[in-house]
């Protein structure tokens, strides 16, 4: 089975996605600027690590080379992302720029450069966010993720019928970042989720695996919200 490329594989969601693909028998190219992906790749069968900073212009070449070492890829999961939160009046323009570069420009560069190399019938899955619908103190992140949702539509149209392109938009997910929140802040966020809890990273990974599978062979250009109902709550 051809490989799945997972960016941001050292993070909680990325690691869960990589482990999910590996459990399904797929080779995984684990991409991250954090060299913990080397250890992750060591743990997984047929995994290839790729330590690169996606904000760098030559990152797509490094990822393509790693994919070739894995024997070729059929799946690209654009999961890597960063936040630089701040109230809009004080939000630094450089922080705005960096968030757009990593969360929007980098995945689109990867998609454009790797799409010709993905196997026929392959798929690109962009990890967007429920925040694309709007969030306080995240003008940069919201703009970048909304842009990624839109780009998913454009890519789906331009790459059909050879490749499918979809997005997954997680809401609140249990990660080291959310676990470090003050309990009252975390409690307020959970209270807005109809499911009454944050998602486990594996619950996001399961949806990614679904979209990469033949079960989703007629699904393209869509954004699937994995947010416990938060996107339809008041």
């Amino acid at each position: 089975m051809t490989a799945a490329i997972v960016t941001g594989a050292a993070g909680a969601i990325g690691t869960a996605i990589a482990r999910g693909f590996a459990a399904g028998g797929r080779a995984v190219v684990c991409v991250d600027r954090d060299d913990r992906v080397v250890r992750l790749a060591d743990e997984l069968p047929h995994a290839v690590p790729c330590v690169t900073d996606l904000a760098d212009a030559d990152a797509p070449d490094a990822v393509a080379e790693a994919a070739a070492r894995a024997g070729g890829a059929a799946v690209l999961v654009n999961n890597a992302g960063i936040t630089r939160d701040g109230r809009a009046p004080k939000l630094d323009a450089d922080d705005f720029r960096l968030v757009v570069r990593v969360n929007l420009v980098a995945p689109l560069r990867l998609a454009e450069e790797l799409a010709p190399q993905l196997a026929d019938g392959g798929t690109i899955i962009n990890i967007a966010s429920r925040a694309a619908l709007g969030n306080f103190g995240q003008a940069n992140y919201v703009a970048a993720k909304a842009g990624l949702v839109g780009a998913t539509r454009a890519l789906a149209l331009s790459l059909a019928p050879r490749l499918r392109v979809n997005a997954v938009a997680p809401g609140l997910v249990e990660t080291p970042m959310t676990q470090a929140m003050p309990p009252d802040v975390y409690g307020k966020l959970v209270a807005r989720v109809p499911a009454g809890r944050a998602a486990e990273p594996a619950e996001v990974a399961d949806v990614v695996r679904y979209l990469a599978s033949d079960a989703a062979s007629y699904v393209t250009g869509q954004t699937l919200f994995v947010c416990g109902g938060r996107s339809v709550a008041g």
Binding site: F96, V100, V105, A132, F136, G150, R153, G221, Q222
Partner: protein
């Protein structure tokens, strides 16, 4: 009122500059107490066009939403208006003037022309 017209011809490599500039220009206007209307080509909102252009336009829609949420207390008014080429310029102007008046539409996307009907909403 600031009428922010989305630039055409944005490629993936131009996204960073274009969205950052949009943020700075729109924020400055809101800080100065101006209402802001962001003008978009509805075909790009639908997802039609180059990847970079569609990402830019959707990024602007997200920016409008985020700034409206943050601007609730200070009373910022920022809204997006998209239209298809067949919409008469006079009709677009009428909507710009209407949406440029502070009111409850802040954060919204108003779409003129019927091409978006039957497609997944944005």
């Amino acid at each position: 009122m600031l009428l922010f017209d989305a630039t055409d011809g944005i490629g993936v490599d131009g996204l960073e500059d274009a969205l950052t500039r949009a943020f700075e220009v729109i924020r400055r206007a809101l800080d100065n107490g101006e209402a802001v209307v962001v003008s978009l080509d509805d075909r790009h909102v639908q997802g039609l066009g180059t990847t970079g252009q569609v990402a830019y336009v959707h990024g602007l829609v997200g920016l409008v939403r985020a700034l409206a949420i943050e601007g609730h207390k200070p009373g910022w008014h920022v809204v997006a208006l998209s239209s298809t080429p067949d919409v008469e310029p006079s009709e677009r102007l009428r909507w710009f003037e209407h949406l440029g008046r502070p009111g409850p539409a802040s954060g919204g996307l108003v779409r003129l022309g019927g091409e978006h009907l039957g497609r997944v909403p944005v």
